[in-house]
Symmetry: C2
Subunit: 729 residues, 2 copies
């Protein structure tokens, strides 16, 4: 999208207890940003990440914030104040007159300010954060008390009945901090009288994928002629037309990471006058691909007994007629204050996903709808986006007020993103059909979202929520609360998609030092700082430090470093167990998407693969290995073994590539005490492209090992895999 001439706006911000009361003090505002950060900087407030400091920021949720600037001195036939969105409820007052009011951070707006003189005050008044009153026993929600986070300042239930991302109200890995303010770009643009107000290119593919039927959707501010130019991924101009519907023959297709190139075409819309002079230009970039969902082979003959219920819904992604096993992660906000997220921040994290052999992010409904640059980079990296609407773990009741807000916000979101190649599917939100949310197919909010997605973007799949029937979330522990290990639980499951699961690890020691007071660091006791950073009491009985589990396997740790290393060991092996088992369960299973990718502040411990701001945890590398497009894999049955005990493994070739598997052989080794011995031999046969080959279960006796660990290895070279297990007495 090209940018018109625009003038920099200098903003200040202050607060008052009422929208009509002028703040007694203003401070410099960084825009885009958040009011909390501006105020804290001006007042020298302590870093909110450290210890309990975030609590000092909480009063800022409940006041009115007044941004002010002045109309700049800028020339142009038409002037527009343009915003990508303001967080959350606000009004725009220009020269004392309210020109726009809105609830919801995801709807962009533009206000014609051609009549506004330079120097006229422009004010944006941001209302207190929305808070649904929480009345004990009210019928709104049917929450499982074990599952929710309750603190003295409210909980995530306060986010119900608004389109504000729920995560900010406190989560089991996220502080209670509710950002407010101008979180997207805002500027005054000078445009010609006749200009392009809106331009997008949408397409459908012919069944044979040979032809893209493209439709240009353009709105002008006045009458005019628009020329469309299409440029190939290599920059070559392919065609130039004044038609609004064209067929592009044999386009290069766009593919998810690992399945082919990310071919992106650029299309420009040029407003031209009778002499051919270009008055205005806008451009867009599209990738041509067909994507739909299918059921797994055999799904239609299940269930097979009477009385007979329904078959499972589809979860298998088909892109350009090729089955894509979804390997990826749940993307959460990379920052607590989304106004601070930059292109570079997105780039560094999405690049790491590509490097980790991922092809999908589930953009979880507790967080924001990301900025344009997120989607630009996902388009370029081949990372599919499962995009949820901002509903999570609450019962969003279909009152008229809420539905009106959701209607506007969802339409803005759909229209903004529907041209994206990376956008794989829409989803109503997170865990809405589970007890702690208690929403159902009958919930009007979800029916509205289905309706809007159908009306504005019908060819993209729509899930009401995750998990649906046959899909699963969790668990989030190496050792479950019921005593099962992750191996046992996963190896005995048969879900169609694992769209959340996690194995926590303690954060890097340098992060712990940055947020936990030094005198509380080690040995770890349940202090307020550890609780605040979710080391303890994160999620009912379990906690992300998992000290009991660690002590159970490894005994008491001598140092923080040792504890952290053991925790990472479990996280690595646990994550491999899940990712690889999900892949082994292909074709019934078609998705492995872990909880979660990154984190927006320094936690004490977390399921994340990347610690804040961008430190790769050992689990990142384990997951990267477990997501190789083609690899050997061993199904492991448990973590700890005694000398002389039988060890059982089942070998596989996992194959998500277009290559058929040819007959071959691989050895299975055990490595311990500096030795490497062969314990098995895997002869594998043929399998078609995108299909695995499963071997037979094999067993061997654990030799006399001195160390407390041993490693199983299958194969050698790029496809080799290894598993580090525990020897116990």
């Amino acid at each position: 999208m090209n940018i018109y001439p625009s003038a920099e706006l200098i903003w200040q911000v202050g607060f008052s207890k009422n929208e009509d009361i002028v703040p007694s003090e203003y401070v410099d505002a960084s825009v885009p940003g958040a009011v909390q950060l501006d105020w804290a900087k001006a007042k020298g407030m302590p870093d909110w990440q450290y210890s309990l400091n975030a609590r000092q920021y909480r009063w800022m949720e409940d006041v009115f914030w007044h941004y002010k600037t002045q109309m700049p001195d800028i020339r142009g036939e038409q002037l527009f104040l343009c915003s990508g969105g303001i967080d959350y409820k606000y009004k725009v007052v220009i020269g004392g007159e309210t020109r726009f009011e809105h609830e919801g951070m995801f709807t962009p707006f533009e206000i014609n300010v051609s009549d506004v003189e330079a120097g006229t005050p422009i004010e944006i008044i941001v209302f207190p954060a929305p808070k649904q009153p929480i009345t004990p026993g009210e019928p709104l929600r049917a929450l499982n008390r074990d599952e929710i986070i309750v603190s003295d300042v409210g909980d995530r239930r306060e986010a119900a009945q608004s389109a504000k991302p729920a995560v900010s109200y406190g989560w089991d890995w996220h502080p209670r901090l509710i950002p407010l303010g101008i979180w997207e770009e805002i500027r005054v643009e000078a445009r010609p009288f006749c200009h392009i107000k809106q331009f997008e290119a949408l397409y459908t593919m012919s069944n044979d994928l040979k032809t893209a039927h493209i439709e240009f959707n353009t709105m002008l501010s006045f009458l005019g002629h628009v020329r469309y130019d299409i440029f190939a991924p290599n920059g070559e101009k392919l065609l130039s037309t004044f038609e609004r519907n064209i067929d592009l023959e044999e386009p290069l297709l766009w593919w998810p990471n690992g399945y082919g190139e990310q071919n992106l075409y650029t299309i420009t819309a040029s407003l031209v006058d009778d002499s051919g002079t270009v008055l205005d230009v806008k451009s867009t970039r599209i990738g041509f691909r067909e994507l739909h969902l299918e059921v797994y082979p055999g799904a239609w003959s299940e269930p097979d007994t009477f009385p007979k219920t329904r078959s499972n819904p589809p979860t298998k992604l088909i892109v350009n007629n090729v089955p894509v096993f979804a390997r990826g992660s749940n993307w959460v906000n990379p920052e607590v204050f989304p106004g601070t997220i930059t292109y570079d921040r997105y780039l560094e994290q999405i690049k790491l996903a590509k490097d980790a052999n991922f092809n999908i992010f589930r953009v979880w409904g507790g967080g924001i709808i990301n900025k344009e640059s997120f989607f630009d980079i996902c388009d370029e990296m081949g990372i599919l986006v499962w995009q949820e609407f901002p509903l999570a773990c609450n019962n969003y009741v279909g009152t008229k007020e809420y539905l009106d807000v959701l209607d506007e916000e969802s339409k803005a979101i759909i229209k903004r993103l529907r041209h994206r190649a990376c956008l794989a599917l829409w989803c109503g939100g997170n865990e809405l059909f589970n007890g702690w949310s208690a929403m159902t197919e009958q919930s009007l909010a979800l029916r509205l979202l289905n309706s809007n997605c159908y009306i504005y973007d019908r060819h993209r799949p729509f899930f009401m929520t995750s998990p649906l029937m046959g899909m699963a979330h969790g668990c989030y522990l190496f050792k479950y609360q019921d005593g099962r290990e992750v191996y046992e639980a996963m190896n005995n499951s048969d879900f169609t998609a694992y769209t959340e699961f996690g194995v926590p690890s303690i954060s890097p020691v340098e992060n712990l030092r940055a947020v936990i007071p030094a005198d509380e660091l080690f040995p770890i006791e349940k202090t307020e700082a550890w609780v605040e950073h979710h080391g303890f009491e994160a999620w009912g009985a379990p906690n992300w430090l998992c000290l009991e589990t660690l002590e159970g396997y490894f005994g008491k740790a001598e140092t923080l470093e040792e504890l952290q290393a053991n925790s990472s060991w479990l996280s690595c092996e646990g994550y491999k167990a899940i990712f690889e088992e999900a892949r082994r369960q292909k074709p019934r299973c078609s998705m492995a998407i872990n909880w979660c990718y990154q984190e927006p502040w320094m936690t004490a411990a977390n399921n994340s693969l990347i610690a804040y701001p961008n430190t790769l945890k050992p689990a990142y590398f384990a997951v990267k290995d477990a997501c190789r497009h083609k690899m050997f894999s061993l199904r492991i049955e448990k973590f700890s073994h005694k000398v002389g005990e039988k060890v059982c493994v089942t070998p596989y070739v996992l194959n998500d590539t277009s290559d058929a598997i040819k007959k071959g052989e691989a050895d299975i080794f055990i490595e311990y005490d500096g030795k490497k011995e062969k314990v098995g031999h895997f002869v594998y046969g043929k399998a078609a492209p995108y299909e695995n080959f499963a071997g037979e279960k094999a067993e061997f006796t654990l030799p006399d090992i001195k160390a407390n660990e041993f490693t199983l290895i299958i194969g050698d070279g790029d496809m080799a895999s290894s598993y580090r297990l525990l020897k116990v007495k």
Copy 2:
């Protein structure tokens, strides 16, 4: 709805091979009706019900039918040709000019014919029945070959991609006969220049059910004032207003049968001129009630293990804050030719449902959307209507052509019916999420229906199909194909709703004599007539005569009457076993709706409770007993027992009433060889209103019985129940 002055139209009908070719012959047409009946009557064709005669009617599906009449000589300021709908694709040609074209039988139309002179020809050209080509191996459908009906003239798959009810293409109990023609009223109306084009009253109830917020939705042909008068159920005028929104305080509520009165208010809209003279009047009738769905108690804590999928969707009907256990039947077309259905035909059958203690019809998606009088009577009788759209057992692919037809038809259906008190829920269609249909939540047709229901009638529940997760269909046999009896299968199930299930019985002997050639009647052999009437080969391996099952229990029958009596015995006991077990499974289970209520022609054997045209089968009375609002019930474990064998029964009080169950006692008896002996005693405790009381399993030894049967009885008086079981050697 009031009727304007109108003139009778005299119709004739003929056929040709093309819409532009005038038929060489016309015959008198009965309107509303069907072209097949007109032609057959004129030509003296044999009764299509008898033997194989229906096959002689099949060519009529594939020609163009031309109805003709003349513009009547009628005076009025404005004249309109008004139709309730024409089956299926047609155009209306007046004086040689095409004035209206449409595909779909459920959209009414009106054409302004004020400019048409008396005597001008009016022609309605009805196109051949829609037939989706069936190409083996095409990706459109993923059918389980065992589950479909294939004949030499096509099968139900031909109904895909149209909004024509699929049942007419042949079903396991319905002949292949595809009606065409004018199936609803059609007339020329004389209206004043300023008249009421449309009037409806919609409402929402306040949470406390004390206030109805009523909105009048009125469209006039010109400017004017409309007065609204509201009349109480007793006829008393309550208020008169010119406001379009009013609150009615403390309205008498409308209740389903068995739960209270069916209070219906009449509302008139009167178009008045400045002097107060009434120019036009329309009226409507509404019942005030709130209805929604809830999950069963405990649903939100299921599933309780990780990896964790979703909870079951809600199926429990709550009407006016009271839980209503849905007891009822699947309504199918009462006639093969829906144009012949009259008010009286609906009345006699719906009255029987009320008598049978039913409170719901599932109006199955294979059939039509019924005429107004169906809903008038259901409103009056308190029979809730689960209304499906015309999709059944096919994959209706979301092509633009199909979605356009479905969009128009569904909007017409929703707008016509949304004011109905009896209308409980919308449903996309029948068994669409099962293998033989292979549709999913992603199917655009179902997303469109959800969207249209949301936009036009959002407060009414919407199911995409039946069964959903947790709900079940089937089986349709006393003895399942896998060898289980209905007792074992049902007693070991735990579904949330049984929305189809059946136990067939052989049709009344007089019906068999009417449709099977006399020389084929007995002993029964698999002749073409028996197959045509679905005695054999109805549904894969099973057949509705179930001769093997009958012989297995009872040995070879000596007469047709004996065979029919034994078949009815199984049907009665099987139906009681299912209805009562579903009720015993309350509160997890909330619906028992059998397949099916009636039949549109004389079958050889069927799951229906009522034989064509209106003969009550023994099963009707058994089901009526099993649906008493409050009753004793015994869980039976199997049908046949040996002398000296242990017989196990579990006693219940089933209670769907507002009465609490008080402590009490009931005896259990066995009756055999003219004797009645006490074999058990049931002491029951307290239970709240609408709750059952479950007893402990009891057992006794079967005495020495001479006859081949015995009867178990629990209790006496109105609540007593009995079960007739088989003694074997």
